[in-house]
Symmetry: C2
Subunit: 477 residues, 2 copies
């Protein structure tokens, strides 16, 4: 990212009182984010659990609870499954039963679809400020139970006759860290003039795609919503106009249809949606997932010190506490637990062209907090690259990613996970292309799919958040 920032000059920011796209290029967006980092002045400090204001460990269970009974809490879970190497284990997990709202406003300027993105500070982000959806709100926040200050732009998402809902889907959170967590992912189109605010900017899909290729710029909530993009509506409403606009190289969005194409209709390559859904149902049947909520106190092999809850092996993840001081936020100070890890994870798809259409190697994967046994995941998804390199039993296809030749790497970016729950938890996201002749046979919990097919399955909530992060890039790519 630094190389980008070094190239930037302040002149590249165009003044734009009407709230239209103010950026000429990617660098200027990064520069703007950097300026928001300075003014947001959020500082995060590790603290011992005993200094966690408004939080306490329950005397009976040792569960870590917020005094409101809302927000989120950390308890234990006992897991057993026939999937993967470990067959049964205990772990801490985040319980957050509320359905949050992740919403992006979209509006056409000169016929080109723009998306209103927020420069949002979160304590767990490695660089504090990242690009977030227009609105990120908890359920009590957006249903206005507390009649508190509503998030900016919230009024456009509900009961607004002038806005058109393009997307309103439930999508899951990290299944290995959250217990059955779901968020509403919305994209809403407005026609009226929208008031501009300091921490918000309009971007085209093209610009967002460029930013997705930079480390830690587009936050995971935004990536999740972007993966739900109603591509067919955007293409037919804006595609031709934007195709013209692309030629002026102003960064206006255009869709590269190379990755889409149409599904081959003949030959043994074509796997129909019927077959894919049959395969998903089969995976739900052959894999088992039994979970039981248990007190944190009873999670075997996990230990608590003043500063951390860790596994005795020091692997996997740990729970820590932070104190946060913030300038531009409604609450000036708060403390909260966060989940963290010492090592980088990896999430990546192997892709290959079959009859000239890109196919993605999709994994059916069991994770502790999944709602329905399996979710569809990237070809590889593991929480510690380091750990895997040392281990004898590597996950399938690991070497394809570690030993990829430069010309095979179609995408490789570091992205952090939810900054409100995870402290600097980062994964390398990759797309690795292999030759058409490779991997004709894959294990039974893997399936080749086209991007079209994946975009359909995303609507029905089958893809996990790691896969959606990659899809957000791939479908614009």
């Amino acid at each position: 990212m630094n190389t980008y920032i070094n190239k930037m000059t302040e002149n590249s920011i165009m003044h734009d009182p009407a709230g239209e796209n103010r950026f000429k290029n990617t660098e200027s967006v990064l520069f703007w984010l950097e300026s928001k980092r300075k003014t947001s002045s959020l500082s995060v400090k590790t603290i011992p659990f005993e200094m966690l204001d408004q939080w306490h460990f329950d005397k009976e269970t040792y569960n870590l609870l917020h005094e409101s009974g809302k927000y989120f809490n950390i308890g234990g879970i006992r897991v057993s499954t026939n999937f993967g190497f470990s067959k049964s284990w205990d772990q801490p997990i985040i319980y957050q039963p509320e359905v949050g709202l992740l919403g992006i406003l979209t509006k056409k300027f000169k016929g080109v679809q723009h998306f209103l993105m927020q420069a949002k500070a979160e304590p767990g982000n490695p660089n504090i400020v990242q690009l977030a959806p227009t609105v990120q709100a908890t359920e009590s926040n957006y249903t206005q139970v507390h009649k508190g200050r509503a998030p900016l732009y919230l009024e456009y998402f509900f009961n607004n006759t002038n806005s058109k809902i393009l997307v309103d889907l439930l999508q899951t959170g990290q299944g290995a860290r959250f217990f059955k967590k779901k968020n509403r992912n919305m994209i809403v189109e407005v026609n009226e003039n929208i008031k501009s605010h300091e921490y918000f900017c309009w971007l085209t899909l093209w610009q967002i795609k460029e930013l997705l290729a930079v480390d830690n710029v587009v936050n995971v909530e935004a990536r999740s919503v972007l993966a739900c993009m109603p591509i067919e509506e955007i293409s037919y409403s804006s595609f031709s106009k934007t195709a013209e606009l692309k030629t002026d190289s102003n960064g206006y969005f255009v869709l590269n249809r190379d990755l889409f194409g149409s599904i081959p209709k003949t030959g043994d390559v074509y796997v129909s949606m019927n077959i894919i859904i049959g395969w998903i149902n089969k995976m739900k049947k052959i894999y088992t997932l039994d979970t039981k909520r248990i007190p944190l106190k009873k999670t075997s092999r996990w230990e608590r010190t003043n500063f951390k809850i860790t596994h005795e092996s020091k692997r996997f993840f740990s729970i820590m506490a932070v104190s946060v001081n913030v300038g531009s936020r409604e609450v000036a100070h708060w403390a909260q637990p966060l989940l963290t890890s010492d090592s980088y994870g990896i999430a990546g798809f192997i892709i290959k062209k079959i009859k000239n259409i890109f196919h993605f190697l999709v994994q059916a994967k069991v994770e502790a907090g999944n709602c329905d046994v399996i979710e569809l995941a990237p070809t590889i998804q593991c929480s510690s690259i380091e750990g895997m390199v040392q281990q004898k039993e590597k996950p399938p296809f690991f070497d394809f990613f570690i030993n990829a030749e430069p010309d095979q790497v179609k995408y490789s970016t570091i992205q952090s996970e939810e900054g409100g729950r995870f402290y600097c938890l980062q994964n390398r996201y990759m797309l690795i292309e292999v030759d058409e002749t490779r991997l004709a046979e894959v294990p039974e919990n893997y399936m080749w799919m086209t991007l079209d097919q994946m975009m359909e399955l995303v609507k029905y909530g089958y893809f996990n958040i790691y896969a959606r992060s990659l899809l957000a890039y791939a479908f614009i790519g």
Copy 2:
């Protein structure tokens, strides 16, 4: 049906040793079914519960159990919901946790796709023998746990390298009568020569459509599988050839694309799949369904005599027992409970053309045994027409069906439900067309959808069995 049979002559059956389509027209299929009725010689007799061989009422719970612990059993359920008129009630319900197989073989003869249908006798069918899928098997049956005699043609459905699986989907049973019941619905294409058997025949989709317009010919299991037809694969592999063949009026199948068309891409009419899925998720959220399994003994307001378990109001349904004697079946005699009702039910869609494309008014409906709160149902679905005519609180849109003018009625046929569980339980299935200007506003749990959209949602298991029965007709229609 009798009018059809009266017109038939035995000459209309062509002898066909190779197992190809032996029927020239609809009448000859009905005649063949009638002949199977004679040779199957299945007789059904009402008996008191105490004569139910191999069944007993549990001493503690009064649940009606089979001595094998398998098969199915009848217990109680306590239901509460915020949907509809009744907010909480108890009822008996059928528990059958095994996932049955409903499979149809398909094969091209002279380029035209044919489907292998079985003349199957079931004790609950009003006319005993109806057209069934190639294979109807319980889970222990098709996984060969008991190493008993396998159903005919079962070998083509599993691990057969010469057959191609076109469809393998989980679909639900009647949510008001079964507790979370699911069946595998499969369509498998074969290329090799298939041995013909006396009780089986190859039919085109065109012929099946004609038969779906006759009362009580195509059984509900077959209708369920037909609703999963992978229309896109069949159309591109056979459409042009069959279009030629149609001209010789031999009854060869051809798809009428009038009902399909493509989804209008512009205007305020078009509701995208994203919006529809958002609506489904919303329905799952605003409606509640709490169910608790209770002993049959504790089902409030239900009474048991020697012959029946009935509601004190004599409405809804009842449980009875039958003794069955059969010629052509593997077991020569058995006894079993069946669920029955004194009155006909109704299930129907209101349809209308919007910009020349047919749309169906789909209802989100809560039923006691649903797996996930709501399923998508026909516009109207109720278990007693009579009962509703007398009641003050009629279900929405009831009058559209009762008072429909003849030219509005696009489909109206009596069909019985699962003959292995229900005794002469019959519903009138209807498609009623209204003017484009009608019903612009509908209650929040109703949504207009195109057939294309419904066919996509069927794949994901959203439509209940009543809706699928109507879809089976509509998409061929």
